[in-house]
């Protein structure tokens, strides 16, 4: 049964330094508020997992929370680069970032395998791509019936899965609708899960296109109104496209980025002035 707790309590209890953490939400319901809380609590050495590292991962990476990123597409959708992600990969700033790279189909299947209690998933794909040569998490596999060669990918089972949803009831049952992405998969694949919601309601009235995650597969539910901003929550608020565009400018420069984060997340300034190492080449 999920506990209804505050967001800071949930992050404190569920996310530990060194954990593998997936904050998911495919273009919709991206758990920004939860990610900001991870930044505030200065979690370190995380393995961050996400199909589309969005602005929230740019922020986590830029604030030095991550040592590794597992992903399939790392850009600012419709805008361009994620500058903090690039700076980490290209220049090891603020700390080196190991990457494990897949395609969307590969990531989605890795999550599904995790949810299904399987050690791996099979798909057509990756064939002829150079990802096959750079990855220990891709392997050929042969169909025992047809002899055809396909590609296997290992299941992903994060220590913590974090998603945002529209609603929960007071028992901790969670309801979300619109683009449902991989929310269910990541909650089911993770050892612990946190769902932030726009609101807690008395009753989850059935809605077209809605899925429900029963309380007994969720570890904690925390109310976080507007918790997906600047992404959106279907039927609650729209995507803040201007924010995505402004981020290109805000994040381009290390100092400007840090100042913005300190200001907008209300961080104690001192703790974020990391000793910067010269990782330039």
């Amino acid at each position: 049964m999920a506990e209804l707790v505050s967001l800071d309590e949930a992050v404190r209890d569920l996310v530990h330094d060194g954990d593998s953490v997936a904050l998911e939400g495919f273009t919709h319901l991206i758990p920004f508020a939860a990610g900001h809380e991870v930044v505030r609590q200065e979690k370190r050495e995380l393995t961050l997992i996400r199909m589309t590292p969005d602005l929230i991962y740019d922020q986590l990476i830029g604030m030095g929370c991550a040592r590794k990123l597992i992903f399939s597409w790392g850009g600012n959708p419709g805008v361009g680069s994620l500058h903090r992600f690039r700076d980490a990969v290209e220049n090891d700033w603020p700390v080196p970032l190991e990457i494990e790279e897949h395609s969307h189909a590969g990531m989605a299947n890795r999550y599904a395998a995790g949810a299904a209690g399987l050690p791996f998933a099979v798909l057509r794909g990756y064939k002829g791509t150079e990802l096959m040569e750079h990855s220990e998490t891709l392997a050929p596999i042969t169909c025992p019936f047809t002899g055809e060669e396909l590609t296997a990918v290992p299941a992903i089972r994060p220590d913590v899965g974090i998603v945002h949803a529209q609603r929960a009831d007071r028992h901790g049952n969670v309801q979300l609708w619109g683009i449902v992405g991989v929310q269910k998969e990541i909650v089911l694949a993770s050892a612990r899960s946190l769902v932030t919601v726009e609101e807690v309601v008395d009753e989850l009235e059935p809605r077209p296109g809605a899925i429900v995650l029963p309380t007994w597969v969720v570890t904690a539910v925390a109310e976080a109104p507007h918790g997906a901003h600047p992404s959106y929550a279907h039927d609650y608020y729209d995507r803040d496209n201007r924010f995505y565009q402004r981020w290109d400018e805000v994040s381009r420069d290390r100092e400007g980025f840090r100042d913005w984060m300190v200001e907008h997340l209300g961080l104690a300034a001192g703790s974020w002035q990391l000793a910067e190492q010269d990782h330039g080449r």
């Binding site: 850009g75 680069s81 994620l82 690039r86 750079h134 683009i179 496209n241």
Partner: protein, 240 residues
């Protein structure tokens, strides 16, 4: 290049024309989405748009700004989870046309969307493969939209992010339209845009570009095409 339309407009129109009606398109954001919606609003009204966020049959009135805009879900025939869109719909062989962009394309149609430079220590880290590797492999036809220059049309891509499958391929640039030679699979210039010379196309290619014997010429965008396209783009800018 004509004075009445931009190179991007011409590219988008040329891409839209590749779509016949009732085609099922797997669409990415940006020029591909613009081209697919342009086709849907002009000569191919029953084009089915599938977005990798899981929306099937979306009919947006305005162009989406991200691949998962709420309007895509609201106007869709069905919204399915992301694992399903890749497994049952793309891998299941139900996609007629997939649109792709890239930073580099090589002589045989391999695409790079991953890095410029070395993979381990890249000069420029690009977003990565996303949905492209499986789209390239599984769609019955792949339409690549890319501006042509010696830096983008390269003998050898820095990283093979996606490689063509057994389907057809067409590459649409600001200079013309290329298709693989049926025998050698080498990209061959099949059509040239108005105001562009063959020499120019060859200069903007990082290998010795083959040109079709029966090279055709792209028709300039029609008034209707340009009108609809500009309306789409203006509405997009107003919302951004």
């Amino acid at each position: 290049m004509g004075a009445d339309f931009s190179a991007d407009e011409l590219m988008t129109v040329a891409a839209a024309r590749e779509l016949t009606d009732r085609t099922v398109c797997f669409v990415g954001i940006g020029l591909p989405s613009t081209a697919a919606n342009l086709a849907r609003l002009t000569h191919a009204p029953r084009t089915v748009l599938v977005y990798e966020s899981g929306t099937i049959g979306s009919k947006p009135a305005t162009l989406p700004l991200s691949i998962g805009d709420g309007e895509l879900a609201e106007t869709a025939d069905a919204v399915v989870p992301v694992p399903e869109i890749f497994n049952y719909w793309l891998q299941g062989g139900r996609i007629d046309v997939g649109f792709l962009g890239a930073a580099q394309v090589d002589r045989f149609g391999a695409l790079n969307t991953t890095v410029i430079g070395d993979y381990e220590r890249p000069k420029v880290r690009l977003p990565g493969g996303g949905g492209a590797p499986e789209i390239a492999a599984m769609a019955k036809e792949v339409i690549v939209i890319i501006r042509q220059s010696p830096r983008t049309f390269v003998e050898r891509v820095d990283f093979r992010s996606s490689v063509p499958g057994s389907g057809a391929m067409v590459v649409i640039t600001d200079l013309g339209v290329l298709r693989p030679d049926p025998e050698s699979r080498e990209l061959t210039l099949r059509r040239i845009h108005p105001g562009v010379s063959v020499e120019q196309a060859q200069e903007e290619t990082g290998w010795d570009l083959r040109v079709a014997d029966d090279l055709e010429k792209t028709d300039s965008p029609s008034e209707e095409e340009l009108g609809v396209l500009r309306e789409l783009n203006q509405a997009l800018e107003a919302r951004a």
